[in-house]
């Protein structure tokens, strides 16, 4: 027997709920579904078919939605003794995630497709369908905690800082959180693997997924070129304005990027060059020393609030990339977005990424970064 730590409220229910458990075929969602079953809920498993032409087998930690993954998911459902269905959301995924990913890069921004998938696929398309079919909630293997406090339902960081996924869930609004269940938020990953092994789930040792699931070989730049073609332009020194070289598509560069510039010669002072700015309209990539990447004022649009929206200047900590550190900031609402005045500067903040605001472990909300500058 393992010791069951304090569970979020919905894992020890007064009345069982009808739950849709999304099984990826991996270990996290398997254990999450198992815990929902143990808690006495009526659980139905689904596997999302997100790719229009799935590969037969997984290739290490890359890719997803392979036929092998769907077999693993089915086998997990068998072991748990729950019904299993495949939901084909490949069209929605194409429209909402992949097309958006391409359009964002084409506009010179750096999107986060996982976050987009959580917002538009798992907690919109799947959740809407689940609710319409009479289910109460969608359960996933994400590492984040839902806490029902006196202020209402809150989203918090997972207890395992190495696995915390609250950043990619911060786009969920109150309504979506009301029907979400994350049973793994209070557990460390190694405990989840051990639990999977104890439960006889054969995916206990399956590698974690990394990278972007629909870019099977991990070569995002090559993948973007295959969709957007070539758009040659100049790589320009951000300080002197001097042309330094050529590139075949500004869209494939990301602010803060150092590798793959192909300039062949160092800056006069010997300092490494970084991508400072990407302008896809003029097909120009500005490069320069890392100090030019330091920002302390960030603007974001499309704010989403995990609880009540902030009113007036609020002290928070903000995080601007999936596994980045937080910095203190004063944040305020600006139109349908937010503005954050950082207490210490951040280096390399790319437009298109999410800026997530935290109060301690609690997620306040998020916004999509539009601009990051120096005050």
């Amino acid at each position: 027997m393992h010791v069951v730590p304090d569970r979020p409220a919905e894992m020890s229910p007064a009345a069982p709920l009808r739950i849709i458990a999304a099984l990826s075929g991996g270990v996290d969602s398997a254990v999450a579904a198992a815990r929902a079953v143990d808690a006495g809920h009526e659980v139905v498993a689904i596997h999302l078919a997100l790719s229009r032409s799935p590969a037969a087998e997984r290739n290490g930690s890359r890719g997803c939605c392979t036929v092998e993954d769907s077999h693993d998911a089915r086998r997990i459902a068998d072991v748990l003794g729950i019904p299993f269905y495949i939901w084909d959301l490949s069209e929605r995924f194409q429209d909402e995630v992949i097309d958006d990913f391409v359009a964002e890069y084409a506009a010179g921004r750096t999107p986060n497709p996982c976050l987009r998938c959580n917002e538009k696929i798992k907690f919109t398309a799947v959740l809407d369908r689940a609710l319409a079919l009479g289910f109460d909630a969608v359960c996933t293997g994400h590492y984040a905690r839902i806490v029902d406090s006196e202020n209402g339902r809150e989203l918090h960081r997972a207890v395992d800082p190495g696995k915390d996924q609250s950043y990619v869930l911060a786009v969920l609004d109150e309504q979506q959180l009301a029907s979400a269940m994350f049973p793994l938020g209070d557990t460390h990953k190694d405990e989840v693997r051990a639990e999977a092994a104890r439960r006889g789930l054969l995916v206990a040792d399956k590698p974690d997924s990394h990278d972007i699931c629909f870019v099977a070989d991990g070569d995002t730049s090559g993948w973007l070129h295959s969709r957007l073609g070539d758009a040659p332009g100049e790589i320009v020194d951000a300080v002197s304005g001097e042309p330094l070289g050529q590139h075949d598509g500004a869209f494939a560069f990301t602010v803060g990027q150092r590798r793959g510039l192909g300039l062949g010669r160092p800056a006069p002072d010997g300092a490494r060059r970084y991508v400072i700015e990407v302008d896809t309209a003029s097909s120009t990539v500005l490069v320069g020393p890392p100090t030019l990447l330091d920002v302390d004022l960030i603007y974001g649009d499309k704010a989403r609030w995990s609880g009540p929206a902030i009113t007036g200047v609020t002290a928070a900590r903000v995080q601007v990339r999936a596994h980045g550190d937080t910095v203190p900031a004063d944040v305020d609402v600006l139109g349908d977005g937010v503005v954050a005045l950082l207490g210490e500067s951040l280096r390399g903040v790319a437009a298109g990424q999410a800026m997530v605001m935290y109060d301690g472990t609690r997620v306040i909300g998020s916004a999509t970064i539009t601009r990051a500058t120096r005050q």
Partner: protein
Amino acid sequence: MYLDHAATTPMRPEAVTAMVAEMGRVGNASSLHASGRRARRIVEESRESIAAALGAQPRDVIFTSGGTESDNLAIKGLYRARVSEDSRRLRILCAPVEHHAVLDPVEWLAKTQDAEVVWLRVDHLGRVDLESLGAELALDPDSIALVTVMWANNEVGTVQPIAEIAELCAAAGVPLHVDGVQAVGQLPVDAALVDSLALSGHKLGGPHGVGALVLRQGINLVPLQHGGGQERDIRSGTLDTPAIASLAAAITAAVGDRDSRGAQTRALRDDLVRRVLGSIPGVSRNGDPINSLPGIANLSFEGCEGDALLLLLDAAGIECSRGSACTAGVPQPSHVLLAMGLDPLTARGSLRFSLGYTSTQADIDCLVEVLPSIVKRARRAGSAR
């Protein structure tokens, strides 16, 4: 409640008895000693009773592992034999509503063995158009390797005009393969009408993993499996005596009570269709309502995803099917319904209820009672997409 008999139907008690009896005995039907001779006798008596039930000669019956193997053996084997006799015979005439056990070998031959597929025209009921078949056969009979048309469709139940099709093929001198997996035991099937007939044990109350190809004498096949040559050198592999004994018992039983059982199943099926069409708006029936398998009711539910209906019915304890094969586990709209002219959206909202010998009036009453609220809910989910 089990309403998926076209996927597989419970074994008949006679078949279970025959199988269990043989499982307790030793003997390879190819061995020459007493145990082998005893097993051989069971196999040959089974072959004779199957031949008798289907109007074939015992030597025509080739035991296989099931319907898919029988279809593959017939289609690939006939094609290779015909092409080796005359290299002009590259055309395969095939109905687009065939099971994947037929479609996939045909497409594989086209992809890898120079075959040229001619898709036969079918009408809105899924019936092969005899005029266009006649025209194709008349066009250049020397270029045709074979014609393949199923006896009855597994998804919508439509029965093909096999006698007329066989007549046209015979007149053109072209062999006809018929997938009879759904028809044997449900309809009067006369194997003598056709050149080759595939059947499967578990669809007619026999065990899984056994079937037969009934191949008219004089039709040449190139084998797929090479080995001991147990079945006339056309199919190799140690004969599965218990399964073959059980298959014969099931076929004998199914053909024996076919008409009375068929009438009963048909009455239940018609009651199901009538009451569902009468109680739920936006439902239409697919397939031939007259010339049909007795147990199949294929219905389209406007504004629903078949998946959603299945999930909700499953939760209510009702087991049925989308009736279509899956590609990579992702449900596709049925190729049969698309070939019959349904639009993809309607095809996706279709379900197959298939009744069998264990179905009861209480099953139908229960389905008719719960279905309206399930359809209502699935429609809500459909519009949420």
